[in-house]
Amino acid sequence: MAKQSVMIIGGGLAGLSAAIKLAELECDVSLMSVLPVKRSHSVCAQGGINSVNDLTRQLGDSEWKHFDDTVYGGDFLQHQPPVKELAYWAPKIIDLMDRLGVTFNRTPEGFRDQRRFGGTLYQRTSFAGATTGQQLLYALDEQVRRWEVAGHIHKYEYWDFLGPVLDETGRCRGCVGQDLVNMEIRAFPADALVVASGGCGAIFGRSTNSVACNGAAVSRVYQAGGHLGNAEFIQVHPTAIPGADKLRLISESARGEGGRVWVPRKPQDPRAPQEIPEKERYYFLEERYPTYGNLVPRDIGTREIFKVCMQEGLSVQAGRMCVYLDVTHIPRDQLDRKLAGILEIYEKFQGADPRKVPMKIFPAVHYTMGGLWVDYEPDAKGGLNVGSPRNQQTNIPGLFAIGECEYQYHGANRLGANSLVACIFSGLTVAPGIIAYVNSFKGQKAGELPSGVFDSTRRKHQDYYDGLLKRPQGGPNPYKIHAELGQLMTKSATVVRHNADMLETYAKVCELQQQAARCSISDISPWANQTAPFARALDDMFPVAKAILRGAITRDESRGAHYKPEFSQGELTAAEPAQRRREAEAWVDRFEANNRRWLKSTIAACGAGGEPALSYEAVNTSLIPPRPRLYGLSGGDVIEQVYKERNAAVKKT
């Protein structure tokens, strides 16, 4: 029997994990990436990777609690079986990465060290300095190189994925790609296609994402018939440094190691931050969330920073929105051992030493929770049936999606240090499922199909590209259109969302899409042309941008990172206990009514012109019932009390 051939799109943590596991299972693996895989965006992940560990276990932690923290953090919008499985695999994944040589920080006794991260009360996060993603990626990159030398993996670096090739039954039989140096467009037969292309930060212009994270690969699958799940859920990270080209992340690990967020109580206090006495500082996260403090989940942290700056007028600087992130009280050797990577970034780009002066930070678009819809198969214990071909498979047979580009694990808000584990988990577990899928398929292998199956798709992409180069000069400029798109999306589809504003933005995005279709290409060289592929990626940003906007406009509620003030429950206002209790009862009534209406995933199908058609899918909450997500908000305890009493009553009856 011919070997199974698999093509992987993307060489970050997810793609490389899938590649090495498939190679181990004796597949013939090809891997396509727009850049050398060692330079993928996973290198930007800083803080760490989560799992229950020997220490936390003895303090009462368990896989189940990691699972619970993840769904609570995601505001219950995830199907629970895959998330449960993820939490149970997490310790094994970190052990594996340890064996692959990741230089995890150590305790004095030589064990792996852990720190705390957002949305949990346990020290669950293993880390390698403040460059954990880079270290994990390198370990996988090295293993891929080992398989390359052995002839089992073949890399296509500097290749752009243009779209899947589907046969007449709608089954994926390979893909079309373009060599970004000699610009050749070619079809690649494959028995299975795995998309591992990461997030879509570039749709928001500047973000914490790398330049390659433009969402184009996801869009190309979406336009070929793949569905998107929960596209409207975009994470805005609380702490980044604004820059002209990029918003650079300052990891949550700064707070995990004891960093504190504050503003002077006196608006725009002109004194240097070190000279402002403790009692004149407003540690707003610690005051409002005494249990979690600075380590509330990201959506909450971000909204609180917005509120302090915009509503309360307490931004540190007058002309620029920012708050202090302060690590100056942490001993220097601890900072150097555990956070050097991020402190150096701040120092290099801001010219100030954060060991001595508090950092000035502000929220930035960071992570794409939504993405390609994928399936899963539960097992009898409520986890995943690992090895099922349904796992990670999109609605296009033979096309799988893993890592940040799919929608499955993080719901309405991702917890810090859960992305790395989800990328590696989905990469490792997709492999046996793919083998099962290919073995169960009785038709011809992709490599044996007549070339006609591939020719028409290849031709379509070639014609589109040739057309780009022939566009008349003097039309709109693709870089300027991209900048405008980013500004529009950042203004109306990030932290605070209003329907009227988003409807207006939707109309403007449609106009920009028209302009993009007419934009001029200032480089027509047939060699290492970067302008034409950029214009092509820009075209592909619009369908995804529209799915984000339409999903957000339609979802009239607040959940995780999706926040609409007019569909949000305020805090309790009454002081008198009985009245406060009545308010809490009403609060829980509305909470339950809202879940009946909106605890469902948005599914987008791409129509003509990139217009999304939305439908909804019920969320599997069979393991942990949804509960109010307050994170011990000061004054919110009575709500939690009411909810608990009601649930206890339900259980009795």
Partner: protein
Amino acid sequence: MSTPSSQTFKVRVLRQDKPGEHGYWNEFQVEYEPDMNVISALQKIAESSVTADGKTVAPVVWECNCLEEVCGSCTMVINGRVRQACSALIDNLLKDQPEHIELRPMTKFPVVRDLMVDRSRLFASLEKVQAWLPVDSYYDMGPGPRQSQEQQQFAYEYSKCMSCGCCLEACPQFLKTELLKRADETPQQFRARLRAAVERSFMGAHAIAQVDLFNMNPIGAMNAGERLDALTAEGGIQVCGNAQNCVKVCPKSIPLTTAIARGGRAATVHAVKKIFDW
């Protein structure tokens, strides 16, 4: 602020349309904004693509990705110094040299186009020294070996290497190897010829440091001899002329000269052991 009088600054770029062609200079006038780096200057140039003397040209080709100096993509020679474009801040560059900012491609690698070079040779030397741990499988076999804090911190310095190529650009013993694809060659044949050509030339400090990284790991130590064989083969550590430029230009401050010294010692011990068949 180093541009007090003008709101623009000049950027000179050494361009080249294709491999094997001659280079030529373009000068661009870029509008000044606070907090700019070389990347944002190049982005502005891409937007207009008009030279200082008003000629419309193709946008400059260059590589970048992370923009925070951890991916290694945007390495180029800026005002005569090899470094990453993302962490090269315009204010600082103009302070040192107010007339203009000068961008060239790295000189030790073949130019693909403009500021983009072919660094595949870097990865070939990682293959040569087997820069990986030969684990049995990816199944769950429990944790890796325990390690001291001291060893982790030492290894971590090496493991930050992002394969940017700065150490090779600065190395007097690392010489450019450039071949052009012949019309009668398939891409595979061309790659094989290229591989054979670089196989025997100097691997450079980055690969020497990776040998130390993997050989100090308890799992990697089990086949340390194979890495040391590669380290001492033609193009290996003995070619190093001890100029110590590598360590000065490394953006991640990796102790490359320490790696070279340790590699030299390990290679000697290994050679002696081999002679006596220990």
